[in-house]
Amino acid sequence: MLLAGARSLAVQRIGGVFFSIATFVASLYLVFVVDQVDYLVTQLGQWAAPFGITMVADRFSAVMVAVSSFMGAAVAIYALSEIDEARLRKFFFPLYLVLLLGVNGAFLTGDLFNMFVWFEVMLIASFVLMSMGGEKGELEGGLKYVCLNLLSSALFLAGAGIIYGKIGTLNMADIAQQLAMTDNADWAISSSMLLLVSFGLKAGIFPFFFWLPASYHTPPSAVSAVFAGLLTKVGVYALFRTYTLMFVPIFSEVQTIILWLAILTMVTGVLGAASHFDMRRILSFHIVSQIGYMILGLAFMTPLALAASIFYLVHHIIVKTNLFLVSGVVIRLKGSCDLAKVGGLCNSAPWLAFLFFIPAFSLGGIPPLSGFWAKFALVKSGLEIGSWWPVAIALLVGVLTLFSMTKIWAEAFWKKEPESAALVNVPKPVGPLFYMVMPIAVLAVCTVLIGIFGEPLFAFSERAADQLLNPQAYISAVLPNSVEVSP
């Protein structure tokens, strides 16, 4: 629909913002309804499951849809002032909406092959958004991103193909049911490993994260913000969905692998962040490190740990998107976000310093901001099951996160502006600065609110985690005629 209006840039802008806000409103309604009825199931085309394509919303997917639509709306407003006319002429906003469609579709689908299709919808939009500008860095980063993601799609397809060949269904609830009934589910390990590698590539877990810091800092900040906030989280969501629903019978055999992957992801991510001097590269490495925390919750697999992970996902999406948006404002003001070249922002833009301060220290886990509660719950759940080493490493990584955040703070905001700082690269402003600052401020307020009044959200996360740990209810909701399987 927006393609028709693309010639008129005003129509594209208004449409992009309007539809992303409308999606957000609809997603809030979805959360409200799902919290009442537990599961919302739609059989597309009225084909009964497991034959047709099923869309399922439980609390976890509903909250993911709501948060990602929220980010979608915030970044759409931000993009008004950052995306230049050349990009708009190449259909920036229609592609952006397609990206959000793919993300939300992947959260809501109950069918493995359908999830593959939503991934592709999301990927093709993200490929174009990433390489749209046609600059050297964008093309290089884009090429790596595209190749790695195509590879991961092929592995996804292979994993799904093995499942279909063995049990003849692709409905995730039906797969879970059939797997629970078979005596010999060893073949499922190979399939689950293929899916683990595929989703791991998308989520950026160790050792598949290398494409992420090499490409996320190249496109405009609005684009990298929405990628950073949403795309890797789709991979995390898919991992959660497969291991809490489909591969429950074999989870004990892969738990150690996931645990070690989570630990290594945390450590390598934060070490990479500590060694870099470009604001957006540091932030990219932080994504990797934070993904490790979420996967750690999955590896613990206790109700509290899963709730902590869900809370962490929500917190992380908001905070990380916000930090990338701040880096975009820094580029707009100073022409660069290389820490060696910028400085003195504390004097020249104290409001920006304040707006950076909130998400940055939330990411580092300073109370009472949202990141503290997320980390606290995760650590507590780890201690409850006596995993001392992972918890110790998680805490150490938290300290290092704080270290690299203070590095950005000290270099970009506190230090005097370097003599050599020439404002030659300052991009020509596209729109008023207000459109860029307003979403940042809203997201920062959200971070504070989640920190101080986080109780309802955490209670919601706990209810969502209970649902995840009770796959039988999911199966019964999707397949009304299913038989009860004793675990």
Partner: protein, 115 residues
């Protein structure tokens, strides 16, 4: 028939990975294409290969006579092929532009954004 296809899939995966590990970006593209074709074949084979057994329902019956060729993997592979085709076209265009920007076919020259 299945063992033959299985070997073919294995060979496709192996050649794909070999091409991925070469230093030329064109060979990288070839490798990605080969691997996605291998995955397509794998899904296709998962529906069991039967000749001359269409999934047609006889009049008066509600299910086709067993054994019948499962049409679902074919539909899925068709989807995957179409998606793969579009992505490959985009990838080729991207390689073309990146080659113009970098001026080299060697992957080692693509290190400006590396970390």
């Amino acid at each position: 028939m299945e063992p033959l296809i299985a070997v073919l899939i294995g060979v496709l995966f192996a050649t794909g990975i070999y091409s991925l590990l070469r230093r030329s970006i064109v060979k990288l593209v070839i490798g990605v294409v080969l691997i996605s074709q291998a995955a397509n074949l794998l899904v296709y084979t998962s529906g069991s290969l039967l000749a001359g057994r269409p999934a047609l329902v006889q009049s008066g019956a509600t299910v086709p006579d067993a054994p019948f060729g499962d049409p679902l993997p074919q539909a899925m592979v068709l989807t995957a092929i179409v998606i793969g085709f579009g992505l490959t076209a985009f990838l080729l265009a991207l390689v073309c532009r990146a080659h113009e920007a970098v001026g080299d076919d060697d992957i080692n020259a693509f290190d400006n954004t590396d970390t």
